[in-house]
Amino acid sequence: MGSLYEDRLRQHVGNESPKLEAVDSVGPQMIRHWVEVMHDKNPAYIDAEWAAKSRFGAVVAPGAMMQVWSMAPLWPPRDVPDLPIKPIDDALGEHGYTEVVATGQSQRIHRLARVGDTVSYVVRVADVSETDHKTRLGAAYFVTFEYRFTNQDDELLGTQSFTYMRYKPAPADTDQPADSDQPAAAEV
């Protein structure tokens, strides 16, 4: 893989999507679904009476859910502009880096979304690794992008960075050592 190819990948760093609005407003059903899975005991998400008297003034959604409101619909496909991640994914896919696993994420929570809020987001390419890395799963590039979530009043709800690796699956009989400074690989 030549450096020219890698330079081209890194050209996309800093590219940003237009602002995209979530399909649904923040609703109590999705919040409770989340709480049931996580066994989250915070009354701010569930107990309307408690929440009304709290610093929030109303039921709020867990900050860890910030990305959930923006996830793509299962059907029908939503007509949104190509996200800035796409040219990187396409280029890596064409060069054999066909598989994806998430390796980490970071959230900075500024304000909890209230029931009824409409969440919008902008997503930006934050980083692409300079070269490929050897991992347990195969040669991989690490891509990081960053979301910025706002409400209908353009108040910042939070930011979330997300890193995944795109890898060329290693043959099953090859035991490739993982980079000591990189995650062994995990999940999407």
């Binding site: 999705m30 409770r32 679904h33 989340w34 049931e36 899975v37 996580m38 066994h39 989250d40 005991k41 915070n42 009354p43 701010a44 569930i46 107990d47 309307a48 009476e49 408690w50 008297k53 709290s54 610093r55 867990p62 900050g63 860890a64 859910m65 990305q67 959930v68 996830m71 793509a72 299962l74 598989e99 998430a102 390796t103 980490g104 994420q105 970071s106 959230q107 900075r108 929570i109 500024h110 909890l112 997300f162 699956p169 099953a172 995650p183 062994a184 690989a185 995990a186 999940e187 999407v188």
Partner: protein, 152 residues
């Protein structure tokens, strides 16, 4: 109100900032991972990638079974920390690094240690380093920062 039945299961009490010491260990908590948790977590986070609900697809992708998605792992660790400190705290930051995937049939053992405490212009905050382990090794490690907001 319709959620009355949940009240006995919610946590209305909070740890006071003054009582928390650097070095304090959070009580470990085990969460049994089954296919229901993997699938319910994927749906709660609207992540329809088949490796989180379709075993045949996961096997074709080289995985022994369906596995937890990152948003569920993050949500489980966030709830672990905030269930410990209580509702008078705000979770302001959480960083998660994934290690090995976790599959149905495995237990996720969550633990954490208070690694920082400060009281300044940024308010009263506490930092917790956490991890979740399986019998096969670490699933994830990370850091959460919580900020004391005062009694509700």
């Amino acid at each position: 109100m319709p959620n009355d039945w949940m009240r006995p299961h919610l946590n209305y009490k909070s740890r006071p900032w003054t009582e928390i010491e650097v070095g304090e260990e959070l009580p470990a908590q085990v969460r049994e991972v089954d296919a229901t948790l993997v699938v319910a977590g994927a749906l709660a986070s609207r992540d329809f990638y088949p490796v989180h609900h379709d075993k045949a697809f996961a096997e074709q992708a080289g995985s022994p079974d369906i596995f937890l998605n990152i948003l569920t792992s993050n949500g489980l660790m966030a709830a672990y920390v905030t269930n410990w400190c209580g509702p008078d705290w705000n979770l302001v930051a959480i960083d998660l690094r994934l290690k090995i995937p976790v599959f149905p049939g495995q237990a996720l053992i969550r633990s954490g240690t208070v690694t920082g405490k400060s009281d300044d212009d940024g308010g009263q905050t506490v930092t917790v380093d956490f991890e979740a382990n399986t019998e096969f090794g670490p699933h994830c490690t990370g850091t959460a920062t919580i900020s004391y907001a005062g009694a509700a």
